[in-house]
Structures are given as structure tokens and as C-alpha cells.
């Protein structure tokens, strides 16, 4: 039953404010979809509801036929759905090695945890030189690499990434996005990438969804979205 991610008529309210309104979309397994929109468009709210951090008001969401809603974030991680949150995705007080270890702490297959750990350090070799440093001594880009590496140790199937480019220099953003694209190809990951940086996100995405004030404005391939001058001017910023 590899149906991927299916979101149907999802609405999320904060009191009287509607953050997400009747949103429906789907991701096929292995697909990388970028959700693009400005501040307040409901991107982070959407991703937080899919990872169990907030409860939607109405609607449904499922991964390979199993409902995501009503489950705790830690249970969803154990089902292969891993959320890397915006800006604060590592634990600053712990060392790099400890942050990495968290990704496999709950897993029973310790041999595979060791293997995943080695693979993560091969993908982000800078982390191997920082293992005993506290995470708060890392640069923003290194922290983002650490967060992705920790997620990989959990052996995710669906990666929910919230603004991985936030606060990073353009060169670092480029490196992170190239690594991300390689990872999803290598592991067959399905990725929902929430980004304000439309240009970088659409470079690696299979499709893009544009959100505005909690509603889906349009969706399409990067080429389709970038060809529309009105969309570019209004939502993509380039």
C-alpha cells in the first residue's frame, strides 16, 4: 500500500484565525515537493500538523494508507515520518555525537543504527570532526547538517523539512539542498520541503505547491511555476 502522503481537506484553526484552509494534495513515494509561501501562509502549521505537533481542526492526512492524525510525534517518527523543525532542530546543550545518537536511541536494530551513523558522517564529513563539540558551537549550516544526519539515523521514509535554509548563507543553502537531493535519490525518501527560498527549493523539487494565507493557490512542476510571470512576481520573489 505505497500510496505516499495524502492530505485531504485539511483545515487548522488557531482560535478564530484559520491558518490552513481546506488543503488537499498528495505526494507519491520518492517525490520531493516544495511548499512555497510567505510568512503567515500556513506552511509551518501544515508541517507541524503532519508530524503530530498540533491537531488539525478538520480533514485527514495519511502515509501509505495509515492515518497520521491523532498520533504523537514520537510515534510518527517510529513509523518513518521525521520532521526537522525550523531553526531549532538540534539540541544545543548536547554534543554532536549525542545529537546523532538521539536519532537511533529508540531503534532496536543497533547494527543498522551503527551503519546509518557511519553513512551520515560520510554524507556530512564535517560532523565527524566535531563529534565531541557541543551543538551550540556549530555554525548554522553545520547545525542543519546535524539535524538532517540525525533524521537519517532514524531511517525515515517521509522527511518533513521546515525552512532548512533559514538564516544560512547562499553557499551553505546550495550545499544543504544538493545534499538533500542526493539523499532522497540514494534512500528513495519522500520529502515535503517547506521553504520561503523559492528559487533554491524549486531547483531540486519535482513539484511545487504555492500557499497563500493558508490556501493552495496553485501547484505544478518547477518549470510550470517559473514560467508564469504573475506567480513569479506575486509568490516566488524572483
Amino acid at each position: 500500500m505505497n500510496q505516499g502522503l495524502v492530505v485531504s481537506n485539511l483545515s487548522i484553526d488557531y482560535g478564530s484565525v484559520s491558518a490552513v484552509k481546506d488543503l488537499s494534495f498528495a505526494l507519491t513515494p520518492g517525490e520531493l515537493v516544495a511548499v512555497i509561501g510567505s510568512n503567515g501562509s500556513g506552511k509551518s502549521t501544515l508541517i507541524r500538523s503532519l508530524s503530530g505537533l498540533i491537531a488539525p481542526t478538520t480533514g485527514a492526512a495519511s502515509w501509505n494508507g495509515r492515518s497520521l492524525l491523532g498520533k504523537k510525534p514520537e510515534e510518527l517518527v517510529r513509523e518513518g515520518i521525521v520532521h526537522i523543525s525550523e531553526g531549532k532542530s538540534v539540541i544545543p546543550e548536547l554534543t554532536v555525537a549525542e545529537n546523532l545518537a538521539l536519532g537511533g536511541l529508540w531503534r532496536s536494530d543497533k547494527n543498522d543504527v551503527r551503519l546509518a551513523h557511519e553513512e551520515s558522517l560520510q554524507i556530512f564529513p564535517i560532523l565527524a570532526t566535531r563529534l565531541n563539540q557541543r551543538a551550540d558551537s556549530l555554525s548554522g549550516g553545520e547545525r542543519q547538517m546535524l539535524a538532517i544526519a540525525r533524521a537519517l539515523i532514524s531511517r525515515p521514509q517521509l522527511l518533513l523539512l521546515d525552512e532548512p535554509s533559514l538564516g544560512l548563507a547562499p553557499l551553505i543553502i546550495e550545499q544543504i539542498f544538493v545534499a538533500l537531493n542526493n539523499l532522497r535519490k540514494r534512500y528513495g525518501l519522500t520529502v515535503l520541503l517547506v521553504e520561503q527560498n523559492a528559487m533554491s527549493a524549486l531547483k531540486i523539487a519535482d513539484r511545487g505547491l504555492i500557499l497563500h494565507l493558508g490556501q493552495l493557490v496553485t501547484s505544478g512542476t518547477p518549470a510550470e511555476l517559473m514560467q508564469d510571470p504573475q506567480l513569479r512576481a506575486a509568490y516566488l520573489g524572483f
Binding site: 517518527v77 531549532k88 544545543p92 546543550e93 545518537a101 538521539l102 536511541l105 529508540w106 557541543r134 551543538a135
Partner: protein, 296 residues
């Protein structure tokens, strides 16, 4: 005289260390300063007292009191703290609510103890001699009971030090306290882990009550002053460090002892706050407090 004063300081410092360890354990697991700690500790001590009264054997009551202390800690979390944290999740109220809750809980526990056992001062029989060791013709002010307290403090430090530093549970406890949301997103069952943290602290508090009370008397408020000293010791040590809790306790105990001996008994309690101020002015994060990292 100097050595005698030092020994008195070490034995009372070990007592403060035990209470400080219990406070640090809750702090490290949940980021809550548990003002109910003395109430929890005294409740488990009353249970130990009851068991000792029935069995006439302190060594049977001690492990049972520790188990009860752990259960009390777990119940405090299940019935009060985790319910509160689920309802009050963010904002200034979320910061202050657990502190207020533990203060209220302290009153509740002490009232319940008063209803069950009354408010009279009870004598908790000491399993060990309170007479100082004798070397030649000199008897030092350090008894087998004092030695037991020091060893108990060292054992609690060693056990929890190993758990926090070298085990997966310890890592999960630290992750859950520093950043519960990130820990959850890494797959850690944060509620369960925090409950274990409360149990650990309850057990450490029970050790404190059970080894200290035989040196004095037992009443619903008998550990309150000790809690204040333990709290000061924990802050001196950096609040987050188990070693810091022990060092903080020893600094305080030895400081009190020398002030009592060479200055005046009337300034002893005030001296605790003066020592705290001096330490925090010199080391604002406490003796073992960690530095703040760079902003990404």
C-alpha cells in the same frame, strides 16, 4: 580544631548535597525547580519510619522507602505536573505554573502527613552510632552515621552520574529536559522519560530523608530548612550538574561550619545567601554551570 571543623562541615555538606542532588535530578529531567521536594522526601521518610517501627530493622526500611520515594515522584508527575504541562504549554504562565504547583503540592503533602501522623516530633532510630570516631585519645566530631551520610551522597552521585552520562536513558532524560519538542521529533517518548526523571528525584530525596532524619527528628516540616540549604547548594553548583550539587553542598556545609566555629552561630543562615551571592558574582552560572554557545 581546624580538622574537626572541616569534618563537621563535610558531614553537614553531604546532607545538603543529597537534597541538592534530588533537586538537580528533577531540574535535569524536567527543567522544573521542585519546591515539593522536601515534602516528597519527608513523606517517604514517614513511610520508612512506619516500616522501621514494624520491622525494627532500618536496613529493610531504607530500600523500601527509596522505592516509595520513586513511586511518589512518579505520581507527582502523573497526577499533577504532566497534566499541567499538557494544559499550559507556552507563554509566561507555562514558566511559572510548575513552580506554583510544586509549592501548592508541598502544602498538600505536609497537610496529609499531619493528618496521618500528627505534627509531633518523632524520633527515627539511628542504625549507626552517632558518637565520633576515636583516634588515640581524641574523638573527632565525625561518627559512623556521618560517614554513612557521606557514602550515601557519594553513591547517589555515582549512580545517577553514570546513568546520565553513559546510558541511553540518561541521554533521553537530558534531551527531554533541554528541548522536549526536538526530543519528541527524534522519537523519544518524552512524557515517559520525564516520569522516570521524577522517579529518580523522588528516590534521591527519599535517600536524603532516610539517612538524615536519624540525626535529628521527624515532623512534617523537618526537611524544610534542609531544602533551602539544598537549593542554595544546587544553585552554587550550577543547578544542572550532579557533581556541582555535591560540591555546592560541601562548599555550603564547610562554609557554615567555619562561620559557626570562628565567627558566630547567629549569622550561619545568612551566610548561606552571602556564599551564594559571592559564588554567583564570581561565576554567574554557578561553579559547574556550562557556558552559553554561539548564536548560529
Amino acid at each position: 580544631m581546624f580538622i574537626d571543623t572541616l569534618l563537621i562541615g563535610i558531614s553537614s555538606g553531604a546532607i545538603y548535597s543529597l537534597m541538592a542532588l534530588a533537586l538537580v535530578l528533577v531540574w535535569r529531567s524536567t527543567r522544573v525547580v521542585n519546591f515539593a521536594q522536601s515534602g516528597q522526601a519527608v513523606l517517604s521518610t514517614y513511610i520508612g519510619y512506619e516500616i522501621t517501627s514494624k520491622t525494627h530493622n532500618y536496613w529493610i526500611s531504607l530500600p523500601l522507602a527509596i522505592i516509595c520515594g520513586a513511586l511518589i515522584g512518579s505520581l507527582v508527575d502523573l497526577l499533577f505536573m504532566s497534566l499541567l504541562s499538557k494544559r499550559v504549554k507556552s507563554g509566561p504562565i507555562a514558566e511559572i505554573a510548575p513552580v506554583i504547583a510544586t509549592l501548592g503540592l508541598l502544602g498538600l503533602i505536609q497537610s496529609v502527613i499531619g493528618l496521618i501522623w500528627g505534627n509531633a516530633f518523632l524520633q527515627y532510630p539511628s542504625p549507626l552510632s552517632g558518637k565520633g570516631f576515636t583516634f588515640g585519645s581524641h574523638t573527632v566530631p565525625f561518627s559512623p552515621q556521618n560517614l554513612f551520610i557521606v557514602l550515601a551522597s557519594a553513591t547517589v552521585l555515582a549512580i545517577f552520574g553514570v546513568v546520565f552520562r553513559f546510558t541511553n536513558l540518561g541521554l533521553a532524560l537530558r534531551a527531554s529536559s533541554f528541548a522536549p519538542e526536538i526530543a519528541q521529533l527524534a522519537g523519544i517518548r518524552v512524557s515517559r522519560v520525564r516520569n522516570i526523571g521524577w522517579s529518580f528525584a523522588g528516590a534521591a530525596g527519599a535517600v536524603a530523608g532516610a539517612v538524615i532524619t536519624p540525626t535529628s527528628t521527624l515532623s512534617p516540616n523537618s526537611l524544610d530548612l534542609l531544602f533551602v540549604s539544598g537549593f542554595i547548594a544546587a544553585v552554587i553548583g550550577g543547578l544542572d550538574s550532579l557533581v556541582g550539587a555535591v560540591v555546592g553542598g560541601l562548599v555550603l556545609g564547610i562554609g557554615f561550619s567555619f562561620i559557626l566555629q570562628y565567627i558566630s552561630s547567629s549569622v550561619t543562615f545568612l551566610a548561606g545567601f552571602i556564599i551564594l551571592m559571592i559564588v554567583l558574582l564570581v561565576r554567574p552560572r554557578g561553579i559547574f554551570g556550562k557556558r552559553v554557545g554561539r548564536n548560529a
